[in-house]
């Protein structure tokens, strides 16, 4: 970013040729098209059913009608769904970051023998379709009385996210400066102390990025939570919305209200995490 802003000051305005304006216009149109679904949803979430049926989906709402949103909130107990999603995504993100750190310490810094093959196994575990695990997990979770608990979903996704985290973090930690480790060892620090007092603090930006990824990915998951969380009080936000959508029991304004309630947390996370996220994608891309 900095290199761009340096160049910019000099002659940016001069180079705003008609062609450049045309490109900007085309991109602005694209951006509007991308946002259009969100705008339409927001419009209709605030309409009364009567207003919707007389003016159709495209009119601008005449007022702030909140009843549709309130009705939907109470009907699905949306607050409880939010709490479930927060508990599950938060626990998975914390646990998976911890396990990824432990694994990558052994693989990236410890360089134990066979690490390439272990990494291949982690990568395979991460790319497996969930369908190949779902029935045995369903069967086993019933055996151990974990079926239809949030804990079952937390355990499963901790494993899945750790697979990716280990793969990414191991390659990041394999470039960790050796001199720092050597210096800590000279000072008489043991392996765990080096991990906790040296490696973790220095890698904190990467760990933050992993946390954000794990949180959002787990939040957005649909398939396994749908299979494992069948009772109403355990469901996450996407599962509750997806299942209701399938039942086709909602009118147009309530559908919009439900979609808006699903969009809001995602946009909030997006705004909170945007900086970390963009940085993180860079980390992932360069490997």
């Amino acid at each position: 970013m900095s290199s761009i802003s340096v160049k910019r000051g000099t002659s940016a305005a001069h180079r705003r040729t008609p062609g450049a304006w045309a490109v900007l216009l085309a991109l602005a149109v694209l951006a509007v098209v991308m946002l259009l679904p969100f705008v339409i949803i927001t419009f209709n979430a605030f309409k009364t059913p009567a207003e919707y049926s007389s003016h159709g989906p495209l009119s601008v709402p005449k007022g702030f009608y909140l009843q549709g949103i309130k009705d939907f909130w109470n009907r699905v107990d949306f607050g409880a769904k939010l709490v479930n999603s927060l508990i599950i995504s938060g626990s998975v993100a914390v646990l998976a970051v911890i396990l990824s750190v432990l694994n990558s310490y052994a693989l990236g810094i410890g360089r134990i023998k066979g690490r390439v093959w272990i990494l291949v196994l982690f990568l395979l575990a991460n790319t497996m379709p969930q369908e190949v695990l779902v029935y045995p997990l369903y069967f086993l979770s019933k055996k151990v009385d974990l079926y239809d608990t949030r804990l079952s979903v937390i355990i499963i996704f901790t494993a899945i996210q750790t697979a990716f985290g280990t793969y990414l973090l191991s390659s990041v930690l394999s470039t960790f400066p050796r001199e720092i480790l050597e210096a800590a060892r000279m000072d008489g620090a043991g392996r765990f102390r080096i991990l906790w007092r040296v490696v973790v603090p220095i890698s904190r930006p990467t760990l933050g990025v992993l946390f954000v990824f794990f949180f959002i990915w787990t939040w957005n998951e649909f398939f396994l939570p749908m299979i494992f969380l069948i009772s109403n009080e355990n469901q996450t936000v996407p599962v509750a919305l997806g299942v209701l959508q399938g039942q086709k029991m909602m009118d147009a304004t309530m559908t919009s209200a439900s979609a808006l309630l699903g969009i809001i947390p995602a946009v909030v996370f997006f705004l909170i995490f945007q900086r970390t996220l963009t940085r993180g994608i860079t980390v992932g891309a360069v490997k």
Partner: protein
Amino acid sequence: MTQTLSAPPAKAVSKPAGRPRDGLSYSVYLIPSTVLFIGVILVPFVMNIGFSLTKWDGIGSPKWVGLDNYTKLLSDGAFWSSFAHNVALVIAMAIVPLLVGLVLASVLFDVIAKRFGPRTTAILRACIYLPQVLPFAVAGIVWAWILAPDNGALNAVLKAIGLKSLQEDWLGDPKLALYTVMGVLVWVQIGFPLVVFMAGLQRVDPSLYEAADIDGASWWRKFWYITIPQIRPEIYVVLLTCTVAAIKSFDKVFILTRGGPGGATNVPAYYSYQNFFEKTQVGYGAAIATVLTLIIVVVMAVLISRQNKAEEADS
């Protein structure tokens, strides 16, 4: 004790005597994950293969049938068409976003960032990236409603601008449904390559472009001979992750069409779910899932080996 618990890694460091300084004690850090992975990934994976060799409704006791489920797969038209649909999803989620993302990223980086400033660039990028952060369950509800035949927003727009004849049952017409799903997926996916490629462009040496400018190279020549070769690692990462994600698609199909109408948008992941939980043909569902896994592994291996070859050819 620790050795027996962490079986695979311990085997990997089977000669601790040679390296007294490192070795064993680092592998201790792998124990928690090893236990977790055996329970959550390895055992279920092996069990699934076991299930696929049986006929089982999930309740009684499974009956051994050997490879019957796999031979049945070979002659199952629904299975083959679900794979053909998967190819369409790869086009919509990997190929198209990759190509469009490349052009968008270099235009944003080259034209917008340099002439209109980083703020404009960041805003445009955020707008295009936004669908990526939504749970698809939510994006799917939005689209299913926009594309609804009677009171959907798209048909209302067409009516409002006098193109009533173009109104369609976008997700309900077997001839159209797959194309509609593909369109929605392009909308969802396009932000991902854009952001990755823009990050990649930041590490390209600007002097390459300056030299090309002095030689009077056109924008397209620079795009083709500098931009694309320089961000090739990112192109491979995007191609790999998007292709695998497309082959694994479940929630898109579940929310938008449930594989319908009449199987016109069914994909292997959804087909196996149907067999597991709707038709209770667990053995058959397990066979589909196993084949799906195999295909993903093969696709990954091919893409990764191509990437390695390209890197070798470079150096």
